[in-house]
Symmetry: C2
Subunit: 362 residues, 2 copies
């Protein structure tokens, strides 16, 4: 497999390492900083450093655009212009609506691996960075099914869990589970700094933060995260973040009201609901069991693979792996899907049947 | 040393274990549930199970009241009524103003160890639960210096870091670094549950939480924490929690405004300030260095030990250990204090001299 990586930071470098070590790929790369390419060669992350995007994507079957959010649009356009007609092109940006709306090329699939580290740069790249991590894919109606499958299989080989999701839903989910927590972490440290260092409250000014304040440490771990990245993320998803902020402000107002009223049953109920919500939200990811194979007989029309992947993603079914085999008559293709656990397998059959697409357990 | 423990849950049980193992104490205990006392005996946490509070505190030099916040007032009153005249009495409640205002007995010192675990009950008690943990003490003007020193030394022996703080400041600090993070965790899971499970947004309804969402997991780790305890904590500190909520709502409104305006420099500046705040808040606890001894010649008047301890706590100086030795003339007492690091030693001398109390480096 020939893989192109455009932008060789922590994520791009880790993709390159995973592609070489786990996919046996040959990796060509471009980065605006030539020293980064030299470091990537030294690190064994890439096979070939290129002087321009076009050279890196020449002959590639898979191209990963791992540029910062601010530079993504231009980088993706340059890659799509230069990439071969049968090359799957994806990106790793943290927000997806803008990118997906701007790129209706059948070769393009928006992507977002939920992986990172506290340290940036190719020198910290690791082949195992994506082990067990959700890697969102946002296929569109025009997305080519064969290229989607190729990308999905590569991500599976990287150790990631690819999950199809609508671009707008992705951005709303990320506003809820990532962007809002970052905003709240910033707000928490700011108010603690005021409370503990404000000369206007002399009895707390100068109080050190207690040595063991686990809830505070956990809640503020991401405070002030890399500003060069995060300002772009907040701005590129600002309507969804603003909606989350409005919901949060309203909820805090509700809590304030039941506290001010000393309404004990309401405080109990609110706290109990939070525990149940967390169990429901985070317990969901723990499903296990044996891997089951499904055989789907899909009509050969554009977008059908994306349609199936999105329906399963929306239904909470995680596609562990997939394989396409076009049939002889060229009107239908056989898609093999693997999902984990009896419950997910049963659910997947129902969801695909709901699309009026023939499906059976293998 | 004879120690009484009233209420033998996770905290009371761990105090009992630490007292036996690290202080060589004999521990007598009372708990409203006789099965808990049996379990504590089986666990080796206590020497003697008592049928009533008065029996447990008879002859005690130190009494710890480890009842839930809701039952604290009555338990403390019962202990003070039955305890010997030279017994130091403390509690472990999460909020301090009410308790301290209600108890002006010279034997009483409010306390709050910042330690806990996800599992409650004496069966999970550990002698090392307090290792490295801040243990707040809120001495009042009437607090007996000898009893304060006895308590401080015991906590030091437990492995904790005793820190004197004014009761009102304690409650404001806890509102900022503990109660508010708990509220925000609850609000975060509730809004994520709405975003991911609300049938009104069909494209996200049913989306599972991504497998790797570290910021969300960290930020919501304490969501829905034990309701039986937390409703009491919120209510007992509600004016401080409400003040924190108001500050947070105002800050979120400010963030919303700069996002809505697309004000990139303001977002950068806000994010940078959060990073600096967090470094300043959490980096402060990392001071190290050799332990230095100070000799303080304190007038023998009530409250002077509390005054010194509070002044040092407010000035960010942590008293590692302390020892009192009354002088022959009975007008002054020598207090030896140990603090860590040259910087803290210098600062401690300044702070004590500011109180017009003679002090010297040993």
């Amino acid at each position: 497999v020939r893989v192109a990586v455009i932008g060789v930071g922590l994520i791009g470098g880790s993709i390159a390492l995973a592609a070489r070590q786990r996919l046996g790929a040959t990796v060509a790369a471009w980065d605006p900083d030539p020293r980064v390419l030299t470091a990537a060669l030294d690190r064994g992350a890439i096979d070939r450093a290129c002087g321009e995007t076009a050279a890196a994507v020449a002959g590639a079957e898979l191209a990963f655009v791992a540029a910062p959010v601010g530079a993504l649009a231009d980088s993706i356009a340059a890659v799509l212009k230069a990439a071969p007609p049968d090359c799957a092109v994806t990106d790793v940006g943290s927000t997806k609506r803008g990118i997906v709306a701007a790129n209706t090329d059948p070769r393009f699939v928006g992507g977002h691996p939920l992986a990172g580290a506290e340290t940036a740069g190719v020198q910290h790249a690791r082949a195992d960075l994506f082990d067990g991590a959700t890697w969102y894919l946002t296929p569109g109606a025009a997305t080519d099914g064969v290229l989607y499958e190729r990308l999905h299989r590569a991500l599976h080989a990287f150790g990631a869990q690819p999950a199809a999701i609508d671009a707008a839903a992705h951005d709303r989910v990320m506003a809820s589970v990532s962007h809002l927590p970052h905003v709240l972490a910033n707000v928490l440290v700011a108010q603690a700094a005021r409370a503990l260092h404000d000369p206007a409250t002399p009895d707390t000014a100068g109080e050190p933060v207690p040595a063991t304040g686990p809830s505070f440490r956990d809640a503020t771990r991401v405070a002030g995260a890399n500003g060069a990245i995060w300002t772009d993320i907040y701005l590129s998803n600002r309507d969804a973040v603003i909606a989350s902020l409005d919901a949060t402000i309203a909820s805090l107002g509700d809590v304030r009201a039941i506290l001010a009223a000393g309404n004990r049953p309401a405080i109990d109920a609110w706290n109990d609901a939070a525990r149940k919500d967390r169990d429901a939200l985070l317990g969901a990811g723990l499903a296990g069991g044996a891997v089951h194979e499904l055989r789907v007989s899909a009509p050969n029309r554009p977008g059908v693979i994306a349609e199936i992947a999105l329906a399963l993603g929306r239904g909470g079914v995680n596609i562990v792996d997939m394989a396409l085999s076009p049939s002889h008559d060229d009107r239908r293709g056989l898609v093999a899907l693997w999902v984990r656990g009896e419950e997910q397998a049963t659910r997947a059959v129902e969801l695909i049947a709901d699309l009026a697409i023939p499906v059976a357990r293998a």
